[in-house]
Each structure stands twice: as structure tokens, then as C-alpha cells.
Amino acid sequence: MILFVGVAIALVPFLYVVSTSFKESTSLFSYPPDWIPSPIFWGNFESLFADHPFVQWTLNTLFVSGAVTALKLWFDSMAGYALAKMEFAGRRGVALLLLLSVAIPISALIIPMFFVVRYLGLLNTYWALILPPLANPLGIFMARSFIVGIPDDLEASARLDGASEFTIYRKIVLPLIRPGLVVLGMFTFMLQYTSFIWPLIAVQDSDRQVLAVGISGLQSAFLQDWGLLSAGMLAAAIPITVVFLLVQRAFVFNDLSGALKE
């Protein structure tokens, strides 16, 4: 019962957005509100696709989020492997430095980041959106913690059997931390999909812009078209839902059971 109330409370705003997106702006503030608009009004969506580069924004967002996620998973898992399993001078130092940098708030980094990206001449490009998020060390720590859980003997055995470090990473470590990486990937993708401030600063062209920024641009200082805004939000939620549903299939947990004697 409590669950039901909770779900209902969470759903109401969402349903309101859905309902609003199918209404004309003029009928928005009728009281009591009609939950089911009649007649259903498609004008908001037509305007979204006709007057604004909504499809382009979606593609941009999917591309940037996908690229960031893929590259991040690759880098984080390799760095995590090195930090978890390899002996090298200064390993603790590196880990500590990374840990400290996690503690720096994003807002303190935005302005220096802007100058760096401008210096590199990357402003207003996809690179400006893809490169900076890769520097976030949180994923390295998560990957490291997954990998620390793999027994050392597994790699020792593979090494003795003739596997190179890279083969161990590819053939032993990666498959074993896949469930963790899927979670990390979804998390990263989601964060990128909804990221707002940095794209707002780094990219000016409407054609290169991402969804979050694009949609917020639908409202201007003088005109509050709630219907259009709601339509944008609803349409933006669809691609990420599809992505999640697809990824869920990859969510086959293969745990470590069977590696060792229990």
C-alpha cells in the first residue's frame, strides 16, 4: 500500500508532463486540469521536429554519450587493472592523487576546462564534449574495486600458461568484471545523456548541441511554451529508455563461482 502511494507520487509529475505535451498552450491552465487531453493535440511534437533540430540533438547526444561511455569503460578498466594488480613504483601515489581529484567539485573545474579546450581549439566540436568527461577518475576506482576481487591465482595461472598481461586483461579480467562494467557503463551513459552545464559552455552551434541544452533552449525569456517543453522532454526520454532496455539483455550475471574451491 505504501509502495503504491510512493509509486503514485513519483508518477504524477511524469504523467502531468505526458498530458501537457499533448495539449495546446492555451488550454494548459484550465482548472480542474484535464488529465486526458481532448482532442489530442500533436502540434507540440510537430513544432519540435519541424522548427527545431531535435533529431540532430538526439543523434549528437547518443553519439557523444556512446563515445564517452565506450572510451571510459576501456580506459577505466585498463587503469583499474594496473592499479589493482600490477606492481609499479608510485602505485599508491597515483591512487592517492586520483582519489584527491575525485574530491574536486565539477563547478571548480569548468572554467579551467573551458580555457584548456579553447587553447586546444576544440570549442564547438564533438571532441569538446567527449574528452573532458574521460578525465573523471571515479570510474577508475570502481573498475579497480571490481578487479581487486579477482583472486591473484587466476592471473598467476594464466601468466604461467603463457598469457601476456594484455591477454590476461582481455581474456580473464574483462569477462569477469562485465556485470560491474555494465553498471558503470549505464551510469556513465546516463550522466552524459543528461549533462547540461558543460555542453552549454563548450558548444554554441545549435547543430552540435545535445538534448539537455537544446530542450532548455525551447523556452525563452519571453515565451514559456510548456507544451513544447513537455513534448521535448518526453521525446528525449524515449531513446535512453530504448538503450536501457537493450543493455538489460547484456545483464547476464556471470559471477566468480567455480573459480576456486569454496
Binding site: 598467476a156 604461467l160 603463457g162 598469457a163
Partner: protein, 374 residues
């Protein structure tokens, strides 16, 4: 050191090998040679450095000091995979995401010189699986196997490499007693079939005594004794070996040698078997091997004492017998012998029952009962 270059029929040779982690010495310098086809067991309590020895031979741990030769070649600086050794890990270390087939084939799929053809790998995988009776399980994942089957996968993965030397780290330690006995037999069968030098680690003395050609007894990073199982039993080098080997544990008694060079244990006198008589006044330790002492009804028995407690150990039972003066020994008794606590028990000692150790614990000699006084 290279002057002691190993002979040709020696598969593994360790020369003055030692290991320390920082300042902590975990293995004192020692020598060990394993002949072709020999089955050598490293035996010792937990933490004594058994796994460390295997890992150094495999190249997974650096050697702090000394030389390791495998098949006549110095391998200190050779990469693990080029050392021609295969290892069965203390915890099988199977790859959980791969099928049994892929697990067994893994070392071959890694081989680059020469790179092996798919059908060659498959054929050798099937052969290796057959040796350890795993053929019906090739397509399963490790999680779908019993403990004994997983152990055999690990074994097959070692066999398939056809190495010069097998290293096995407590491969049976987590199996139940019945399965362990079975696996012991099948391991020995496999060994008899492929006849490769094997270094086998265990902390189970029964495993060591039943499987080994030779046993290396270790304690706290030091080799205590290297010898055939019989020798460890009949002539333990020191009190540690004497107590570690044999069940029940050998009780020890501290004594002082009498002025006439004779030992007196309660009301029984003993003479040392050594050519040199025991030094009068010296402090020694005497151990009486329980399995060589028998409760008897014969009037000529060596010891007489009072029965205290009885332990059943399979077909035999052991009696704790109080000899007076605070000395008690464990003696073997027929399982059906009617002895109750408080009864008087006569005890006969077989040859080799009594061992005399010096103050430092090193064995001086055996001893025999000369007579009962009083």
C-alpha cells in the same frame, strides 16, 4: 655456486635458495633436488613457506637468493611461461567464465611458438580430459562441477602442457575424506602414467607418507628433514619431525642423563643406541612413538603403568598410560581389549619406539630398554 651444476637426470634443482619479503625471511637458504619422475612432497604446517617454494620454481615469485634449475637450465631470469613447469594451484584457479574444454585448452591456445592448429588443440584437450576422466563434462562451466571434478580440470590443464615438472599446491585439501582418498589414488595413477617430476605440497602427513617417494619436512621457513617416508618415521631428524609425523602425536619427556650414561624414565632405564655413549649430566628429550608401543599381557613387558584415557582411531585404539612421576605415554591397544581407566597396563616397546634428542631438539640416537628397576 654454479660449481654444483645439477646432474642430467635431475629435473629440478634448488641451490641455496632463500626468500625474504623485505626484512622478513620466510625461507632460509636450502638445497633440494628432484630427480626425473620423482614424486616429492613438501610437508609442513600452515605458513611455513610451502607455496612460496612452488611459486619461486614457477617464476611467480622472485628468488631472493640462490639458483633454480629446471631440466638442467638456470631459470632465475626466465619468464614463468618459458620455464616448462605447470602448476595446480592451492585453490584450483579455474577460469569461471570458460567451459571445461576451454579451461583445459587454455595453455595451448596461448602458445605462439609454434602456434597450434585448432584440431591439434582439440585432440590434446580430449586426451588430457580422458586421463582424468572428465570427457563427459567438457562443455560444462566450472560452477557446474563438484569439487573433485574441478580439481581434475586443474590437473588436466597442467597435464596438457606436457611440462618437465609438475607443481601441485595442496590440490586435495578441500575435498572430503573419501574423495581425497580416491583422488590420491588417481593422482598417483596419472603420475605413474606420465612419470614427470612432481613437487606436491600438503600439510597432511598421511597424504605425504602415502604418496611420496621422498618427503621434505618444513617448519617456519626451514627444512627440517628430507627423506623417504619410512626414514622420517624411524629416524626423525628432530623433535619437530618426530611430533609432526605419526598419529597420535609422539609425547616428549625432558630428562637428565644419569652419571653412568643411562637414562631413567620413571622406573625403567634406557641405554642409547649410539656408538658414543650419552654424556653424563646432559639434558636430553626422550620421545616414545605411540604406534611402536603395545599394551600386552606379557610379564616381561618394559613399562607398567595405569590406564587413563582411551582414543579410538579406526582399527586401533590408543591408551594413555600414566607411568608415574608425571610421565605418560600413548600406547597401541587391540580395539577389543578390555581396559578400563585405572587398570594396570603392561607395555612392550618395539625396536625404534624410543628416540633421544639433544637440548636443541636434534636427534642423537634411538634407545632400548635395558631393564626395569624396582
Amino acid at each position: 655456486m654454479s660449481a654444483m651444476s645439477p646432474r642430467a637426470d635431475v629435473a629440478v634443482s634448488l641451490i641455496q635458495v632463500a626468500k625474504s619479503y623485505g626484512d622478513v625471511e620466510v625461507l632460509q637458504p636450502f638445497d633440494l633436488q628432484v630427480a626425473e619422475g620423482e614424486f616429492v612432497v613438501l610437508l609442513g604446517p600452515s605458513g611455513c613457506g610451502k607455496s612460496t617454494i612452488l611459486k619461486m620454481i614457477a617464476g611467480l615469485e622472485e628468488v631472493s637468493h640462490g639458483e633454480i634449475h629446471v631440466a638442467g637450465e638456470l631459470v632465475n631470469y626466465v619468464r614463468p611461461r618459458d620455464r616448462d613447469v605447470a602448476m595446480v594451484f592451492q585453490n584450483y584457479a579455474l577460469y569461471p567464465h570458460m567451459s571445461v574444454r576451454d579451461n583445459i585448452a587454455f595453455p595451448l591456445t596461448m602458445s605462439r611458438r609454434p602456434r597450434l592448429k585448432r584440431d591439434v588443440i582439440e585432440a590434446r584437450t580430449v586426451t588430457a580430459a580422458d586421463i582424468v576422466d572428465l570427457t563427459p563434462y567438457l562443455d560444462r562451466k566450472p560452477a557446474q562441477l563438484s569439487g573433485g571434478q574441478r580439481q581434475r580440470v586443474a590437473l588436466a590443464r597442467a597435464i596438457i602442457r606436457q611440462p618437465a615438472v609438475f607443481l601441485m599446491d595442496e590440490p586435495l585439501s578441500n575435498l572430503d575424506a573419501l574423495l581425497r582418498a580416491d583422488m590420491r589414488t588417481s593422482l598417483l595413477e596419472v603420475h605413474a602414467r606420465i612419470k614427470k617430476a612432481t613437487l606436491y605440497v600438503t600439510h597432511d602427513q598421511i597424504e605425504a607418507m602415502t604418496m611420496a617417494d621422498r618427503v621434505v619436512v618444513l617448519n617456519a621457513g626451514r627444512i627440517q628433514q628430507i627423506g623417504r617416508p619410512r626414514d622420517l618415521h624411524t629416524a626423525p631428524a628432530n623433535t619437530f619431525v618426530a611430533q609432526f609425523i605419526g598419529s597420535p602425536r609422539m609425547p616428549l619427556h625432558d630428562l637428565e642423563v644419569r652419571d653412568d650414561g643411562i637414562l631413567q624414565l620413571a622406573d625403567v632405564t634406557l641405554t642409547g643406541d649410539a656408538d658414543v655413549p650419552l654424556a653424563p649430566g646432559a639434558s636430553v628429550t626422550v620421545g616414545l612413538r605411540p604406534s611402536a608401543l603395545r599394551a600386552t599381557s606379557s610379564a616381561s613387558a618394559c613399562f607398567v603403568g595405569e590406564a587413563k584415557r582411551r582414543d579410538y582411531l579406526g582399527s586401533d585404539s590408543y591408551l594413555e598410560v600414566d607411568l608415574g612421576e608425571g610421565l605418560s605415554v600413548m600406547v597401541r591397544a587391540e580395539a577389543d581389549a578390555e581396559v578400563r581407566p585405572g587398570d594396570t597396563v603392561r607395555v612392550d616397546a618395539d625396536p625404534g619406539a624410543i628416540h633421544v634428542f639433544d637440548e636443541a631438539g636434534a636427534r642423537i640416537c634411538g634407545a632400548s630398554v635395558c631393564r626395569r628397576e624396582r
